[in-house]
Symmetry: C2
Subunit: 324 residues, 2 copies
């Protein structure tokens, strides 16, 4: 049971990471309405958010720049067009996927970039690629985090090897990622315990990135916070791939550090997120995501179900459970 004192006090080391442009961009191919990125930046400043993730730094040789909005590539120039020299306490992050980022060429020295944090995303079987990206980013002067994805399908032995490799690497923050939204809070407690052993041994910090397939993204995020995880990902109105993420408005309502403000978040959701939803951009918890979450599968079949505007959930149940 959490200590009573912790229910009223706060831990200054907790950092809130806004992932709206990156995970939310997976829903709309990164085409946000005019002025959205700038208004989000200003809302984050007012709300006391610590990091704002601008998107992926995707390889333009692999992805057609005419088929995605600018946050798919989040070039330094694009980021500067929104934040200028970003003379604020809000740090800027980008994500780089192993195998989808030409990092040696496309990431320049930190001294010449508005970016502060490089977030490397990897599967356990891609660890050597991830480690090379981590070293590259660290050598260029950035803070670096690493997301090990899809851990609900990883063997614990493999995970321990990955954590040990990351421990020995120069990475600063290791993220717990519930890619399939299949984990329960009691499992998050165990995973945070395992990650915490390696974090303590190697002097790393921990982060949490949750998905809302079982309406547990917020619950899992605050479970992780209570277990010593400091970096908490959230998105406005929970916008993110499939069922979405931990909602920024829920997280801000929970956190007790006075620097965090709920009102600017509510205002941004009212003025930007809700109109986008009403205009037809679709994300969020629904039965199809519950099913892929319960059965610990990648949400791609549920995303397709959503795109096809299907409503036959009972048939989808049979499809999901026959994919063994």
């Amino acid at each position: 049971m959490k200590e009573l004192s912790k229910l009223m006090d706060f831990r200054p080391s907790i950092k809130v990471v806004d992932a709206t442009l990156r995970d939310g961009g997976l829903v709309n191919d990164f085409y946000f309405p005019e002025g959205f990125e700038k208004a989000l930046y200003e809302a984050n400043l007012k709300a006391g958010v610590d990091y704002m993730e601008f998107g992926y730094r995707a390889d333009k040789e692999m992805f057609d720049v005419n088929k995605f909005g600018p946050c798919k590539f989040s070039s330094d120039d694009f980021i500067r067009s929104i934040v200028g020299e970003n003379d604020t306490d809000l740090k800027i992050a980008i994500m780089t996927d192993v195998g989808r980022c030409n990092y040696k060429q496309d990431i320049q020295e930190k001294a010449n970039s508005p970016v502060d944090l490089i977030r490397v995303a990897t599967y356990t079987h891609q660890m050597p690629g991830a480690l090379d990206m981590i070293e590259d980013a660290k050598n260029k002067g950035y803070e670096v985090s690493c997301n090990i994805m899809a851990i609900s399908n990883a063997q614990e032995g493999d995970l321990k090897v990955a954590l040990d490799l990351l421990g020995k690497s120069p990475v600063d923050i290791i993220y717990i990622v519930d890619s399939y939204g299949s984990l329960y809070p009691e499992q998050i407690a165990r995973i945070a315990d395992l990650y915490g052993e390696f974090a303590a041994k190697y002097g790393k910090k921990l982060g949490m990135h949750a998905h809302d397939n079982q309406k547990l993204a917020f619950a899992n995020t605050i479970e992780a916070a209570g277990d010593g995880v400091d970096y908490l990902d959230a998105t406005y109105a929970a916008m993110g791939r499939g069922a979405g993420n931990c909602a920024m408005e829920l997280l801000m309502g929970f956190l007790k550090n006075p620097k965090f403000k709920l009102h600017p978040v509510i205002k941004f959701v009212e003025e930007y997120m809700n109109p986008m939803k009403e205009a037809g951009v679709v994300w969020g918890y629904d039965l199809q995501y519950l099913l892929t979450g319960v059965f610990n599968q990648h949400p791609r079949s549920a995303i397709q179900f959503t795109k096809d505007k299907r409503k036959n959930f009972s048939d989808f149940f049979m499809e999901v459970t026959s994919q063994e």
Copy 2:
């Protein structure tokens, strides 16, 4: 941390209580579509649900029978019209509010009724009324539970007195009720601990009734289950007052007793709940409920906000926070 063995095994004492007709009825004045109650009864039988709550046994002197559907009053005759003699393992429950039920007259001997469980709902300041209803129901031969409502606003001292009074009463089950949807899992753990002391001392069982204002109804319900609470309320598609309740489909996806089946729940949501929602019946998590939850208030202002189809959440934030 929960024991690893408990994550895979199950506790046979866990009972699932379907509260769709009762808490859901608060959304549509108990006017469910033709055939709904019967189809729900059959879905509950297939899903392995343990108790089905049919509604309130409201006093017809106080409430106009022409202004509410039959589940507001859930007479024995109405229940029999759906379940016949109910020769099944599914038990039937009704709720009686202190001060709103003419129980001496309207509840007959269990031997003549299809009802198995009387659920008495009370605030701490109404305990003498609740105790009289509990004794009346017990003397007539029913199982009896008691919901102490709005505990997030109750003084711990008062709550302990109420729990001690209930301990000494003939009630069978004492419910933890998060009426305002304002409690976090770490608080549920503490409350379950407190209730558990009295339950152990007096040989009572515990129940959990959650609301989804902060998308925590399911998380709080499984937290309670992990803390030894046996009776778990849920509603199909989370239908319930305001933000709604713990979704039956989430709970059935989580519970591991092989008697519980998820597919019939998914099918019922597809065939009955989703069409009802599409027809314009409104419930479920939204920002206005988050705000009354975060600020630990009765959701009535949020329900009015919803009825008025307002979208100015930022203004509502100011209204909620000025109600001190």
